[in-house]
């Protein structure tokens, strides 16, 4: 698969639905839709663990969301704090800029973070707060970067918010620092958020092949390391829908080549590592990667044997966002699991193309949400398991469908070779748990119904 770098920016990031004037498709009123741009922006930047993240708006944008992402930190925990300016109705009328300034001052004074990210919300955008000016003034005065993130909820979808966060990084962060001379330069990981510690597995693999990570954008990141991201030799876009634009801009501005890749499944992992070495233009590194990937793949093949036996021929419906829609298909195929339905609502055109490359003709595409739509596919295709995120998990439980969580709340790391092994184990556990037998069988006094469905 070639690195993707063509066609125009908008349709690239948003798929064929992209309207001419808008960067991402609009959500449809009256559906149980996903997150907003504020959500998306926060998700992208929250993994910068040592920074403070201040929500400028009424209490609930923070109150409903603080500390609810499973993005792990190896050290600082400031990112886990819920900071909010808590605007009330009189602030709406008279403006909340003073409160914002005082909040920034308080956070800087008490927590001494390397940077403060300030998020606009629907309310502050509508009442016309001049957040950029307040942030600039505070940053100059306090001597730390105070980064405005202009991504109020109403501008659009979560994906658009991811991109706006990327814009904020480009505008205010990347290019503002230089690494210490002893830090080796290598690859930026873009759109990898260290959910359940996946980034640590990836980093370990990269290090084994002698590839160093320059900046993590943003899984378990430190503010400082992102300031020198422009010194990297290669950008890898791990989640394409979110931050492809960032990689494109960095290519244009700093000449850093990029590719889109994934770490779900052995094949994708091997491809990604090879691609890094290739773009680094380092023969010795390529040889090291080849040795590493051969060794890991053969060890994995050995370890997977008992699981493959159990998983062979099982059918799955996959309902997840962005890059996982296609990359997890590869992982499942390697385990012998057939994907009979796949969600495409958050996938780019290229993601959909990649899905098509990986599944058979009889796989159903699920373009939009709603529990009933997913369930219909599970039933009609006689799927054995549903692989989706937290909001759909309890629906699966109601329908007695074995389930594994693949999104932000999961507590298992599925990336890399070891990750595939863990995925195999989780699939097996979920499918084989005796509770399904119990759930599907009638009570003993209900005669006439076969024990197994």
């Amino acid at each position: 698969m070639d690195p993707v770098r063509k066609v125009d920016f908008d349709s690239e990031a948003c798929g064929s639905q992209a309207p001419k004037s808008k960067p991402c498709p609009r959500p449809k009123p009256g559906e149980a839709a996903g997150g907003c741009s504020f959500d998306g922006a926060q998700i992208t930047l929250l993994p910068i663990m040592d920074a403070a993240h201040l929500v400028h708006g009424p209490i609930a944008c923070a109150g409903n969301s603080w500390e609810s992402r499973g993005t792990l930190s190896s050290g600082p925990s400031l990112s886990q704090y819920g900071f909010a300016t808590d605007l009330n109705d009189s602030d709406i009328i008279f403006g909340g800029e003073k409160k914002l300034k005082e909040s920034i001052d308080y956070i800087a004074g008490r927590f001494a973070p390397p940077a403060i990210f300030v998020y606009s919300t629907c309310v502050t955008a509508l009442i016309g707060e001049d957040m950029d000016a307040v942030c600039k003034e505070a940053g100059d005065r306090l001597g730390i970067p105070v980064v405005p993130v202009n991504s109020p909820g109403f501008v659009g979808s979560k994906n658009l918010g991811n991109r706006l966060a990327g814009d904020a990084l480009l505008q205010y962060v990347i290019g503002t620092g230089d690494p210490e001379p002893e830090i080796p330069l290598g690859v930026n990981l873009i759109g990898e958020y260290n959910i359940a510690g996946e980034m640590w597995d990836i980093e370990k693999l990269m290090n084994s092949a002698g590839i160093s990570v320059t900046s993590r954008i943003t899984g378990d990141a430190r503010y400082k390391e992102i300031t020198w991201a422009h010194h990297a030799k290669v950008n890898m876009v791990v989640c394409s829908r979110a931050l492809l634009g960032l990689a494109r801009e960095m290519e244009a501005k700093y000449g850093i080549p990029f590719f889109e890749g994934s770490f779900y499944g052995a094949k994708e992992t091997t491809y990604s590592l090879r691609q890094m070495a290739y773009l680094m233009n380092d023969r010795e590194m390529e040889r090291r990667v080849d040795r590493l990937t051969e060794r890991e793949e053969s060890r994995l093949a050995q370890d997977l044997r008992p699981y493959r036996k159990m998983l062979k021929g099982k059918k799955a419906v996959l309902y997840t966002g962005g890059v996982k829609s296609w990359s997890v298909i590869s992982a499942l195929k390697e385990l012998g699991v057939q994907v009979v339905g796949v969600g495409t609502n958050k996938s780019t055109e290229d993601d959909v193309r990649r899905i098509a490359d990986r599944v058979g003709d009889d796989t159903e595409y699920i373009p939009e949400g709603g529990a009933s739509r997913i369930l219909k596919t599970v039933r009609e295709r006689k799927a054995d398991i549903m692989i989706a995120g937290g909001r759909n998990m309890y629906v699966a439980m109601k329908e007695q469908i074995p389930f594994i969580d693949i999104n932000q709340e999961r507590h298992k790391a599925y990336a890399g070779y070891e990750g595939l092994l863990r995925l195999a184990k989780e699939l097996t556990y979920s499918l084989a748990n005796p509770v399904w037998r119990l759930a599907a069988s009638p009570a003993p006094w209900d005669k006439g119904v076969p024990y197994d469905r």
Binding site: N64, D86, V123
Partner: protein, 519 residues
């Protein structure tokens, strides 16, 4: 699975392995250049009395809030009614937060839709979003009623729900008789509990007015509308079953106004439906004929109570969450007072058994210093429970104390209740404060136990205080909400939860010579 060839640890143990620890240590070069000594000093300072004072002088920023916003409560209220689809008019992210938030607490799906307003709506108003949204959602999810609430965005631009819904009817998008209840719930005012109240009042008044019935208090006694009972923003599905058990013991006729226990405690039958249980829509106008209304969250349900006394001309008895023996006694007296029925023998026997349990456990609870976090009605209940078993509430934090929400009254009531007992003499009630304030309190004036939602776990951990999870939200423990905490049975559940935490701590922290078998 014994056939495992490999031990595959999850992240709790995996990333504690040496190779990952080393990798993380290597990363420290990227962190803000602070020496270990500076870090330790900053941490110590944050735990000092000097900082606590600074922390309490903080005016501008909220750190770790303990409240959600109005529409979240509205969704819960809407799900208390039969086949009702909660509809959030505003930008879509809010709705997605609400669904996650509620689902993470109840471990159940939350059906709710959004009108997904965007920039165009900000400029031109959200009418077309609302109309399209009603059309789409009714077609997709086939509700029998839609309950619309607003977000900040719709409120700031001043969308008029009533006229928009009227226009939707005029356009023929929804039929003239299809019920669409609504309320205004900006999140820059109030919190999840005032949102619950707004939607409850919205639904009751809407269904009552469109029925054309005239309230005749007491006339429903013969037809089955003797007593109305409202539980309010109720994070415990178990409480619905418990209150029903109590009412049935009285052998009174009653209507639960707002019962979301069906939606949040439905069986796994192999087929998911969008709507489970809930108050029947037809029962709402008839509820205006009841003898009286019993409200179990008087602060939460303030507007609804006013509506029922004002428009339905009914007697309303409003209690805070009836926890413990004293709280439940008040509940029984209230039911008896409203219905004129005698106290059932079965409940009195149950009371005796629970009193017995309390006497069994009291040595382990006496003098335990406790920190409490929660919504006003829950806090009143918990304070009462603590006082009756000899626990000493010390720090009481209520984030939910907006000026518009009668905080003075809640604070006054809490303080008056604390003043009734010597065990309340050390307590201080903080209204409108957050969990970062609570952290200072826990560190500067240590307690034995903290009681509150999952959000309190960070401060509790900093202060090494065991946390007993009560209230909303509880994200990190399973099935707590299935056990009632109200009524005598609820008192027993609370007691077991608390005393067994105390005993667990005894075992965990004992030095060896007192590792007793019998306690």
């Amino acid at each position: 699975m014994s056939k495992d060839r490999l031990e595959i640890p999850d992240y709790n143990s995996l990333f504690s392995e040496h190779r990952f620890v080393e990798q993380r240590l290597n990363k420290q070069q990227f962190e803000a250049p602070c020496s270990e000594q500076e870090t330790a000093e900053a941490l110590a300072y944050s735990q000092s009395a000097e900082y606590m004072e600074k922390n309490f002088n903080r005016k501008a920023v909220v750190i770790n809030p303990h409240k959600a916003c109005q529409p979240l409560g509205s969704i819960m209220a809407a799900l208390g009614f039969e086949k009702t689809l909660p509809f959030v008019h505003g930008s879509q992210g809010c709705n997605s937060y609400f669904r996650s938030h509620l689902s993470r607490h109840f471990k159940e799906p939350t059906p709710a839709v959004s009108s997904s307003m965007t920039e165009d709506a900000a400029v031109f108003g959200g009418m077309s979003n609302l109309i399209d949204g009603l059309e789409n959602s009714i077609a997709l999810y086939k509700p029998e009623m839609v309950a619309v609430c607003t977000t900040c965005m719709a409120e700031v631009i001043g969308d008029d729900l009533s006229s928009f819904i009227g226009n939707a009817r005029n356009k023929g998008v929804i039929s003239g008789d299809f019920p669409v209840a609504f309320c205004n719930t900006p999140s820059f005012v109030g919190s999840h509990i005032s949102g619950y109240d707004a939607m409850m009042k919205g639904i009751l008044s809407y269904l009552y007015e469109r029925s054309g019935l005239e309230a005749a208090p007491g006339s429903g006694e013969e037809t089955g509308e003797k007593l109305n009972v409202m539980l309010g923003f109720e994070p415990y599905t178990g409480n619905f079953a418990e209150i029903s058990k109590i009412l049935q013991a009285f052998d009174t006729k009653y209507t639960l106004l707002g019962d979301h226990s069906g939606n949040y405690d439905s069986p796994a039958t192999g087929e998911y439906e969008y709507y489970y249980g809930g108050t029947r829509l037809a029962d709402v106008p008839l509820a205006a004929n009841a003898l009286g209304t019993l409200s179990l969250q008087k602060y939460t349900l303030k507007k609804t109570q006013d509506y029922i006394t004002g428009t339905w001309k009914q007697q309303v008895t409003a209690l805070s969450t009836p926890l413990g023996i004293t709280g439940t006694d008040k509940l029984l007296e209230a039911i008896s007072g409203l219905t004129g029925l005698p106290l059932p023998a079965s409940l009195l026997e149950e009371r005796g058994r629970v009193v017995d349990a309390l006497t069994d456990s009291h040595p382990y609870l006496h003098g335990k210093r406790v920190a409490l976090v929660g919504d006003p009605d829950l806090l009143i209940g918990l304070i009462g429970f603590c006082l009756e078993v000899g626990m000493e509430p010390v720090h009481i934090v209520c984030s939910n104390g907006d000026v518009e929400f009668d905080n003075v009254k809640f604070k006054e009531e809490a303080e008056a209740l604390l003043a009734t007992s010597p065990y309340g003499s050390e307590a201080a009630v903080y209204v409108g404060n957050d969990l970062w304030h609570m952290r200072s309190l826990l560190l500067n004036d240590p307690v034995d136990l903290a009681i509150g939602s999952s959000h309190l776990k960070f401060a509790a951990k900093d202060a090494s205080v065991p946390l007993i999870r009560v209230g909303f939200p509880i994200f990190d423990r399973h099935h707590m909400h299935r056990y009632p905490i109200l009524g005598y049975q609820g008192a027993l559940n609370l007691l077991s939860l608390i005393v067994n935490t105390v005993l667990d701590e005894l075992d965990r922290n004992n030095s060896g010579f007192n590792y007793d078998l019998v306690r």
